[in-house]
Amino acid sequence: MPALSGQRHRRDSAFRHEALFYAGTDEFAASTVPFLREGVAREEPTLVVVGDRKIRLLRSALGTDADGVVFADMADVGRNPARIIPAWREFVAAHGEGGRPLRGIGEPIFPSRTPAELTECQRHESLLNLAFSGAPAFRLVCPYDVDALDPAVIAEARRSHPVLVHGTEEQKSDEYRVEGAWSPFDGVLPEPPRPAVDLPFAGGGLAGVRLLVADQATAAGLPPARVADIVLAVNEVATNSLRHGGGRGRLRVWQDDETLVCEVRDRGCIEDPLIGRERPPAERVGGRGLWMVNQLCDLVQIRSSGAGTVVRMHARPR
């Protein structure tokens, strides 16, 4: 089983990853507004990525202090949860020079997330610890609505966040899961809800892969631009199968409500836990495919082990 690299999370690391438990909008504001005001007063660059209703709430509560904070809608930034880490990295790179302290609030998990999205959000939360273990002076608060969310979701938040905050109380999480005990590629995806079109492919077969995806995407009602996006994404993953996955793979395509799902399976094994979440340097040849796929798709699920790799790409009509 691929394991995360052996970096231990240093409890004294300058990166603070906190889960903030709140019940209802008032408690949310009571916990986050002082945090934001303090950041503005200390001139610490601050980025808030939450839903648009909470953005309006915070802007209103902060008044003129809102000018010192940058807001982004989680529905855009985190539509595909794999894009959230790159957004934070960009923020840290842009404003954290010289070890300057930074603040962030990010609420990736909310009740309307589908089960598949929720799982990917949870993997994202754990990967944050790895992504920022290089210790920028960055304090990231992740709000969780204990009234609206399942207890299992709250329990998982205790495992993915080293620090837990409730109101004014702060504690280290006894259940925090250290690296090495977990891989973002663990687990098995559920079988498709209805019969899927199935196409094995090998070298020279990418044209057939693209044709099948284009036909299925069009039949599912995706507009032409979306069809082109998902064709490119599946092509890139299938190319990876040819290059790294044993020279062959298997494509399956099906519809889940209005979402088109394309799955590529091969015998390769993915090892890099942050694959697809880091923009590759312009000169580098490898590692581009899954980065591109994350920009093109609404959700990407990767499961990989010594037994092989499965990549599922979701495309919703826009």
Partner: protein, 275 residues
């Protein structure tokens, strides 16, 4: 998509995989030539000829009559490449020219020739000799009514492919991509993916000149993937300091790729307006 390409005509290079069977393509090309009143000459591995004849019969061609009337000639490499058992380019060219002139005298509108380059390579001995031969054939095609289709097995020719593609200015094609290069300009039609990066690179490098920009016309390109886009960028980086690649009619997704991968800051390549 899986294209039925408008293939380039003239003296063209068709890139094939080792396992690929050129018979279907040759049959279409031969049928077109017969319909145009041309003398059709094929120089293929002899074991292909039965299948070729059958394929032509299936397409409605009276193969036996065509052969008897000298309109369709299925030859062995030795017949075409050797003169008195030796590979002598000068004498070979003289005989080719005479053959074309005689065909015209017999009433043919032109001669068209299909050949497997691997077999020509066996006779010529090495790629330099074969390249010299191809260049002479190209000159012949410019001066007399003769055109040629040369099948190049990409696994045999590998790194030499760019030179051979450049020796066919009328164009080069494989199962999903066709293109034509002139100094400073390339036009592409079809799909670029992992299977044909070699042909893409060959078409691009064949058009590179010492000075001036390289214009890459993607108006008829139906698909290009990340690895293809990377080849465009790599070629642009190899140009001289004053030279750039200018991409005409790039597909929307090429912009998306360039933005996503940080290639938009590359000064050696300019993307024109979206197709």
């Amino acid at each position: 998509m899986v294209p039925s390409l408008d293939l380039p005509t003239g003296h063209v290079c068709w890139v094939v995989d080792a396992a690929a069977d050129p018979v279907e393509r040759v049959a279409t090309w031969a049928r077109n030539g017969l319909a145009a009143g041309e003398r059709v000459v094929a120089v293929l591995a002899p074991e292909r000829y039965d299948a070729l004849r059958q394929r032509l019969r299936d397409e409605g061609v009276d193969v036996d009559t065509a052969a008897a009337q000298g309109r369709l000639l299925l030859l062995a490499p030795a017949d075409v490449y050797l003169v008195d058992g030796a590979f002598d380019i000068e004498r070979r060219m003289a005989l080719h020219a005479a053959f074309v002139e005689q065909s015209v005298a017999e009433g043919f509108s032109a001669v068209r020739l299909a050949s497997e380059a691997s077999m020509a390579l066996d006779v010529a001995g090495d790629t330099d000799a074969l390249l010299a031969y191809e260049r002479r054939v190209e000159a012949l095609c410019r001066s007399l009514p003769i055109s040629g289709v040369c099948f190049y097995d990409r696994t045999v020719f590998g790194p030499a492919l760019p030179a051979f593609v450049a020796a066919h200015p009328d164009g080069a094609a494989d199962a999903q991509l066709s293109g034509a290069s002139a100094p400073g300009r390339v036009r592409l039609r079809g799909d670029v993916d992992l299977s044909n990066l070699d042909l893409l690179e060959a078409l691009l490098t064949g058009a590179v000149t010492d000075e001036g920009d390289l214009v890459v016309d993607l108006h008829d390109l139906s698909f290009i993937d990340l690895s293809g886009a990377a080849v465009l960028v790599a070629v642009s980086r190899r140009l001289g300091p004053q030279q750039r690649v200018k991409v005409l009619s790039p597909p929307r997704l090429l912009f998306t790729m360039f933005d996503a991968l940080g290639w938009s800051e590359n000064l050696d390549l300019v993307l024109g307006e979206v197709a």
